[in-house]
């Protein structure tokens, strides 16, 4: 049943598949009718079903948990599954996230980028002793556990990377996602790494001192992580190490 009150949406998508020989980046527009409660996820499926079956985009959870549907929506990075079309103008422009490897159209390979980052930052708990699975885990204050959990909510969607002006210019920059991880492990008492160890990982201009405080990361984070204040916290911590005399000037 058609409802005359619904808007006609014009969705323009940056189409390009680097794996197809001779394919060139181009904008393609599709007109669809808006439905109540429509998200971009639904709109894109509508396009794929009724207009162009070759359109590539990623979705898994449809609930803002998996982070695979991040894309540039009218210039701003966000999760397509969480974006209601009624909050957007009738003309919507979609593009894939920059920085990451393009698979095709709106689909990007955030996974290998994030894996590289995790390896580079050694984003796992570094324990000194072997874990004895027969022993109870060490207790933790609930407040601390909450604080760690707050940062652990990162879904690695890549929005903060796409919203970071620094990383557009300097690809080696770890970005908010990386710094947030360090902040998370730095808080964790089970991780035996010292601040000096973290300084080795992020104590340079590819790390925390490269951040130009453009706030893009925090403003686009779909999980509302306190990214900027965590970066500020790490900056203070890393400065403490940098001011110690046993560091070197080379």
């Amino acid at each position: 049943m058609k409802n005359n009150k619904e808007r006609q949406l014009k969705i323009s998508i940056l189409r390009f598949d680097p794996h197809i020989k001779g394919d060139k980046p181009r904008m393609e527009s599709y007109e669809i009718e808006e439905a109540p409660g429509m998200t971009l996820f639904i709109a894109l499926n509508d396009i794929r079903q009724h207009h162009d079956a070759s359109l590539k985009f990623d979705f898994v959870c449809r609930a803002g948990i998996c982070g695979s549907c991040a894309m540039i929506i009218n210039g701003k990075p966000d999760l397509a599954c969480r974006t209601l079309t009624k909050k957007l103008p009738a003309e919507i422009t979609l593009a894939p996230l920059p920085v990451f490897e393009l698979i095709g159209d709106l689909s990007v390979f955030t996974g290998n980028w994030m894996r590289g980052l995790n390896e580079r930052l050694e984003a796992w708990v570094h324990e000194q002793e072997e874990i004895d699975f027969n022993r109870l885990e060490q207790r933790m204050e609930p407040e601390l556990a909450d604080e760690i959990y707050e940062l652990d909510r990162c879904i690695e969607c890549g929005c903060c990377v796409a919203g970071c002006g620094t990383i557009q210019m300097r690809e080696e920059f770890v970005g908010a996602v990386g710094l947030n991880k360090i902040a998370r492990y730095q808080l964790d008492p089970r991780d035996k790494r010292t601040d000096r160890d973290y300084y080795e990982l992020i104590g340079d201009e590819d790390g925390v001192f490269g951040c130009m405080t453009l706030l893009g990361c925090e403003d686009v984070c779909p999980k509302d992580l306190p990214l900027q204040s965590k970066i500020a916290y790490l900056r203070r911590k890393m400065l403490e190490i940098g001011l110690k005399s046993d560091t070197h000037s080379c």
């Binding site: 050694e122 707050e150 002006g165 808080l187 080795e200 453009l214 706030l215 990214l227 203070r236 000037s249």
Partner: protein, 270 residues
């Protein structure tokens, strides 16, 4: 920590220590920026004393020449101050230039990101970079003049310099760039180091509200300073215009005229 880390740089292997320079350069940039911003905040207010009266501006000039401390005016103090500010200015430029795009490619990437993103704080950074770049030149001219001709300050001396010596275009541009740069800089500085944020924890929402509040304060301060400074520049222009036939002649305070003593200005012969 694993010892077989692959990404350790050659330099790190060679010296066996971690470099403290990135941390110290970052601190230096922030500290020099803070000093310069505080200096400018005071400078613009002192300069705006012309809005009160010529007498008030004259008193401020003499204050900084040390007249009220030593009983005699020493413009050399201004030279010394200008030299000190120049050193801080150069250190700030040196450390801040690390953040500039270093190639056309980087510039283009940033610009397309900025245009696409339409994000206030990202765009503000661009303004900061542009105004910073402008001040490499505008600020240098001004500082050099204050270092070499420090006695050329006063209700008539400054007005003549601005109007008859054609420095007003430079000062107008310098004024706009310095206020924008300092205001945005202080705002970014508070966020960068997390001042006023309290403990490391805290929910994103309340912190974001604080950011917004700080941004408002920043814009309001910049607006107030811009208004005061443009008005005082206008006043100097007006005085300079009225005084243009006698350009070069110095201001004499009413007290001096009444007492019929020698004028205070050491450059009266100029």
């Amino acid at each position: 920590m694993r010892q077989d880390r692959e990404h350790k740089s050659v330099a790190a292997y060679l010296c066996g220590y971690i470099s403290h320079m990135p941390a110290r350069l970052d601190l230096l940039q922030s500290v020099t920026g803070l000093i310069l911003a505080l200096f400018i905040a005071a400078h613009l207010l002192f300069e705006a004393s012309i809005l009160i009266s010529k007498e008030a501006m004259y008193a401020v000039t003499k204050l900084f020449e040390g007249y009220y401390f030593f009983g005699e005016a020493y413009p050399g103090i201004i030279s010394f101050l200008a030299a000190a500010i120049s050193v801080i200015f150069i250190l700030h430029a040196l450390t801040a230039i690390r953040k500039f795009p270093s190639s056309y490619r980087q510039y283009r990437l940033f610009m397309s990101h900025m245009h696409r993103f339409q994000h206030g704080d990202t765009t503000l950074w661009f303004y900061q970079a542009v105004t910073g770049f402008m001040m490499f030149f505008l600020g240098s001219v001004h500082l050099y003049m204050m270092m070499t001709v420090p006695s050329n300050i006063g209700p008539y001396a400054s007005a003549d310099r601005i109007y008859s010596d054609w420095l007003w275009p430079l000062y107008l541009l310098l004024l706009i760039s310095v206020i924008l740069h300092a205001a945005i800089g202080i705002y970014r500085l508070t966020l960068k180091w997390g001042f006023f944020e309290g403990k490391a924890g805290g929910k994103s929402k309340t912190i974001k509200q604080k950011h917004q509040k700080m941004k408002k304060i920043m814009f309001a301060t910049a607006f107030v300073y811009m208004s005061i400074s443009v008005m005082s520049l206008g006043t100097y222009m007006l005085i300079g215009y009225q005084h243009s036939d006698n350009a070069g002649e110095r201001y004499h305070t009413q007290n001096e005229s009444q007492a019929k003593t020698e004028p205070l200005s050491p450059n009266k012969v100029k």
